[in-house]
């Protein structure tokens, strides 16, 4: 059962946050914002705000409603935000009207580029470089989306409430590594591995990670085949696996 709040959370903090990685991984994205110095905030009721700070070829994503922003885009509801993501509605700019051209210009091009990677067809994926970027972006969507599912979805909240406090690493050999920090039944995704994880999930490569995170590969079989290694507090891994099972519902 999908709910718009969770879908919007995954879209905002999973998909849109991905601009950060897109600008790091794709040179044309970097070139597009090489002379840009602009912070854009997305403000959706019920969700933590997301600020994308574009600065001379780099993009950094920040959560929370504090800090500088040049453009502030508000939405009436999660449904309104989802409609914007589908190109069916417009946000309400409350700050930075004079700079809004960035949104219809460079940002729109970046969004299209991101979409090209995420909705790639079979032919594009045959290019190893393209496929690598596609998988890294998809993995980050999953990793950051997981915390949204844990914190917002009705079933996810129940699952997360059963997870003990502590860090859990998710590592992809030859790819990204993140950790989920669980505290008081809430989850936060943080880039980089934890210095003291209670549990670890290690994918043997990017291809395997992509297939498992997107629900295309059975994680139980992958564990047995040595494609996905687990260590540490098994109840954490078990609950996380259930959260992972919910994710494709909110990504579709």
């Amino acid at each position: 059962m999908k709910d718009d709040l969770t879908r919007a959370g995954v879209s905002l903090h999973g998909v849109l946050r991905n601009m950060e990685d897109l600008c790091q991984l794709d040179s044309s994205a970097r070139d597009l914002i090489s002379s840009t110095a602009l912070a854009v905030r997305f403000d959706v009721p019920g969700l933590e705000a997301l600020t994308l700070n574009f600065l001379h070829g780099q993009c950094r994503a920040f959560t929370g409603s504090q800090g500088h922003r040049d453009i502030h885009l508000r939405f009436l509801s999660p449904t309104h935000f989802l409609a914007m993501m589908e190109g069916k509605s417009q946000p309400i700019p409350t700050k930075g009207l004079s700079k809004i051209g960035f949104m219809t210009g460079e940002f729109s091009t970046l969004a299209k580029l991101l979409e090209n990677y995420l909705l790639a067809d079979g032919a594009s994926l045959e290019d190893p470089h393209f496929r690598r970027i596609n998988t890294i972006l998809s993995a980050y969507i999953a990793f950051f989306g997981l915390s949204q599912v844990a914190n917002l979805s009705p079933v996810g909240k129940i699952l997360a409430s059963g997870i003990e406090d502590g860090d859990m690493d998710i590592d992809v050999i030859g790819g990204p590594g993140i950790h989920l920090r669980f505290q008081g039944g809430k989850s936060k995704t943080i880039k980089g591995l934890s210095p003291s994880p209670k549990a670890r999930m290690v994918f043997k490569d990017l291809k395997t990670a992509g297939a498992i995170l997107l629900g295309e590969r059975d994680s139980f079989a992958a564990i047995g085949c040595g494609e996905l290694a687990i260590w540490g507090r098994v109840p954490m891994i078990d609950q996380l696996n259930k959260l992972l099972g919910l994710l494709p519902v909110y990504l579709s």
Partner: protein
């Protein structure tokens, strides 16, 4: 000591993943079985004998999982197998039940303190669910109290909302409270006056992935008294402990009487049968519940159960397993201490639980267990282990030697 590798197991598993969900699903598989790291464990056996199992790569293991409990007298026990084979020649799955059904029910009634009757099925979960339905039929009430971490099978009512396939409606009449907490039980009963049909519990607390806990002084008497006062059916899930702690039922072992008691694993030394036993006053209720299965009255497992119980009584199997368990757990604790580690042993000696407490994540324990497995001692890292009567003092000595070498490996690797 030579360490094992498993190329044939791994190849067969890869083949299996193409046609079997998860390769090996359930508790015998590498995921639910917590094979960490997976490279340390065999997946498939070629045969098993007594206390040992032999994998398809030719490696021999002392099996301390005992098929998660059913192996109580040793794999392929000759007398049990002979009794089963003799029955097989006569009949097994037939249109009418064989006479062994009555003999087995009579033996259980004679043996188990709280049994006035016996109802047979196949798996432990068949009879825990039947017990819950019987409690509801007997009381006309809906709610069931169980204890957090207690395992009663895989039926939806036993699981948690949020598990794939489980609805909120499946668990809305189940109240979960901590084990050994009489106050929590009392509060749950008070908060639901006249609505609690049954309390279901294992005789002592043996959850997976956690230390085990014996019942505290006065706990069971308090539960028994409250259930009697409130007209609540007290169900003991003796699926895992039954016949390992006592042939008279684990409620008898701990000095109280259940209303309904569930048996399975230790009942027939691996032949597939389970039983719900209970007091006379619930015979009508259990008869009224429509509950049956294609293979439930098969005669071969009944013949095996008759022989298993007879042998366990003759040899005092629970005492043998307790003695071996005490010797082993003491030896393991001492080995850990000698090598500079802390091993915490909990639960009953014949089905003890253990974990290294030197790191919070459990990774050290997982590594130690995996090094034991690589050397022919099949432990698991997430669940209680089991002793059977086929094990010997020589097996215990070998196990302790392996445990010490595994500790040395951890030390060499800087933990």
């Amino acid at each position: 000591m030579k360490t094992y590798v498993y190329p044939k197991s791994q190849a067969l598993f890869e083949r299996a993943t193409k046609v079997i969900p998860g390769g090996i699903y359930g508790h015998l598989g590498p995921s639910n079985g917590c094979f960490i790291p997976v490279s340390a464990y065999p997946f498939y056996l070629s045969r098993a004998e007594g206390a040992y199992m032999f994998d398809i790569d030719g490696n021999k293991f002392i099996d301390y999982m005992c098929a998660y409990g059913p192996n109580i007298l040793g794999y392929n026990h000759p007398e049990v197998d002979a009794a089963a084979a003799a029955q097989q020649k006569l009949s097994d799955v037939t249109t009418l039940p064989g006479s062994k059904m009555v003999e087995l029910a009579e033996l259980l009634v004679d043996t188990v303190d709280s049994a006035d009757w016996a109802f047979f099925a196949k798996n432990g979960g068949d009879v825990t669910s039947l017990a819950v339905m019987t409690a509801r039929a007997a009381t006309g009430r809906k709610k069931i109290i169980k204890f957090k971490g207690g395992y009663h099978g895989v039926a939806p009512w036993t699981q948690a909302y949020g598990n794939p396939g489980i609805l909120q409606e499946d668990v809305m009449e189940v109240i979960t409270i901590p084990f050994n907490d009489l106050e929590a039980l009392s509060l749950a009963v008070d908060a639901n006056p006249g609505q609690i049909a049954g309390v279901i519990a294992t005789p002592y607390h043996h959850p997976a992935l956690a230390d085990n806990a014996l019942p505290e002084e006065g706990f069971w008497q308090g539960v028994r008294d409250l259930c009697t006062e409130e007209g609540i059916v007290l169900i003991i899930d003796d699926v895992r402990c039954g016949f390992r702690l006592s042939v008279n039922g684990s409620d008898a072992y701990y000095g109280f009487e259940a209303d309904l008691i569930c048996f399975c694993k230790g009942l027939a030394n691996g032949y597939n049968i389970s039983a719900l036993c209970g007091k006379e006053e619930f015979k009508g209720a259990v008869s009224s519940v429509f509950y049956t299965g294609s293979y439930w009255l098969s005669a071969v497992p009944m013949a095996a159960a008759l022989k298993t119980i007879e042998l366990l009584k003759e040899m005092d199997g629970p005492a043998i397993m307790r003695r071996l368990g005490l010797r082993l757990t003491k030896g393991l604790e001492e080995a850990a201490q000698k090598k500079g580690f802390n091993l915490r042993v909990t639960g009953e000696p014949s089905m003890w639980n253990m974990r290294l407490t030197d790191d919070e994540s459990g990774i050290l324990h997982q590594k130690w267990v995996s090094e034991c497995v690589r050397r022919g001692v099949f432990f698991c890292n997430h669940h209680n282990l089991f002793i059977n009567t086929a094990m010997t003092d020589k097996d215990i000595d070998f196990t302790i030697e392996v445990a010490e070498e595994a500790f040395d490996v951890l030390k060499r690797e800087g933990r």
